[in-house]
Amino acid sequence: MEPVAIVGVGMTKFERDRVRDTFGDLVFEACTRALDDAGMTIDDIDIVLTGSNDFFDGRTISSMAIMDACGSYDKNVSTVEGDGTFGAAHAVMRVLAGWGTCLYCAHHKGSESVMPLITNAMFDPIYERFLGIDSVTSAALQARAYMDRYGVTEEQCAQVSVKNHGNAFKNPYAQLPLQLTIEDVLASPYVADPIKLLDCCPISDGASAVVIAGAQRAKALDAKPAWVKGIGYNCDAYHLGDRDLSKVDALQAASKTAYAQAGISDPAKEVDLAEVHDTFTYLELMAIEGLGLCRMGEAGEFTAFGNTAQDGRLPVNASGGCISSNPVLVAGLNSIIECALQIRGDAGEHQVDGVKTAVAQGVNGPCGQSQCVWVLGGDE
């Protein structure tokens, strides 16, 4: 891939009920921070790309409603209604296409609607929606399939909640830092077996933005670039019964593409840090395996040995992850931003030493139907 870099990042604080800010206010805050971080003004931006979801926002063509808040007038604009990893991948493609420098922002206010009703509506209206299945109950089907296949225990999943909620204390943007023990997680009530309350992400409001530029522009700036080394994305079956939910085929395929572009042959050795989709604890374990950071079925043990802790050999979700703040769609962009900050050495209190190669993962669709993997590096 031709060299492209993330040259500016911006996030709002993630909170439940950010009642003082409209969608536009959040977008403006995130975009302003990203431009400041890049040492740019809105006049330096050629392309604007936005990410939002009509159902969550409660308005059709929601992406167009915040165009004033991201300074898009008279610019080359397009919109992506998917997770931020996919949106940002599209932003990279627009930069590679030669359209100039891109500002990409994504926003979400989960507190303004009713999450189970919206996630129920992602299922097939003829065969599945009437059953009342939603994001939590569908995740529970996948969690059990995965745990059955590899003998993963609820205790092993609970470690992820303890670790990531603890990591969130060091991230000023995270919503839900919690001091937990494995016993606390195991004692929390079942929402849908085997998923318990403390295995689940919160409902969050917030926005994030990045500025993405080609090599020439990136090098001319004072900003510290995080270079895009590889991106892969792959899709699996929509109907949950059509695929083996315990498997991570799409993630493995996406990883393979991203690692090949980045020249990585042994991710377990070459990746220094990962930010993955952990809206439910079991998903972090599946992601670690799917990204090739440990062997299939061994992420529970890998985590138990402390490998994925903030001070471990291969920190995973050092930011606190989605389980600490889950602005839907923004979440994947946050993973990319966290990787960029870690590579730059700008992650503040949760900075991990010596991060040269970082991996971000995002998902779209029921039970991780579609998977996107980013590899970021410090060198062009």
Partner: protein, 157 residues
């Protein structure tokens, strides 16, 4: 500046989007749902190239992209692939009263699973591979809820 912001109660507008839709089940879906309604029989479609029997039936094989024209009659029992018991469910999303759950069920004769409800179970009866059977609604109207739920098959004594 902070002072008035803190003191000001922000106004919130309650609203909603209510749009009726009329989703077509298509010819394949209609044949399937009519069979549930009229004969209490599950149908699948077979891919002529890979031989996979799809349930829910569909017009084309997602694997090899061939057209699946052949109908196959399936059993009304099958096995649990995975399941969950719902403990805290949004009331508007609960089609059953009392304890129920969701499962991916592979019906006898099908190669793929499908999602449906489970009820009338003891938790000890639920496991990967456990046998379950369909409980049909008395009055059926051509919907997936013509099957009320699946329940564990009672052991033959």
């Amino acid at each position: 500046m902070d002072d008035w912001r803190e003191a000001q109660e922000v106004l919130v507008m309650d609203g909603g989007i209510k749009v009726p839709y009329s989703w077509s089940a298509g010819e394949t879906g209609t044949t399937y749902l009519e069979s549930l309604r009229d004969d209490k029989k599950f149908l699948g479609t077979r891919c002529p190239e890979c031989g996979i029997v799809y349930h829910i039936p569909r017009r084309n094989c997602p694997d090899c992209f061939s057209e699946c024209a052949e109908w196959v009659e399936l059993g009304s029992s099958g096995e649990l692939v995975t399941y969950t018991i719902t403990r805290k469910h949004h009331p508007q999303l609960s089609p059953l009263k009392g304890v129920f759950g969701y499962a991916v069920i592979k019906l006898d004769g099908a190669d793929t699973g499908f999602v449906h409800l489970i009820s009338e179970f003891d938790e000890s009866q639920l496991a990967k591979g456990a046998r379950v059977e369909a409980v049909f609604a008395g009055e059926r109207e051509g919907s997936i809820l013509d099957v009320r739920y699946f329940r564990p098959v009672k052991a033959v004594s």
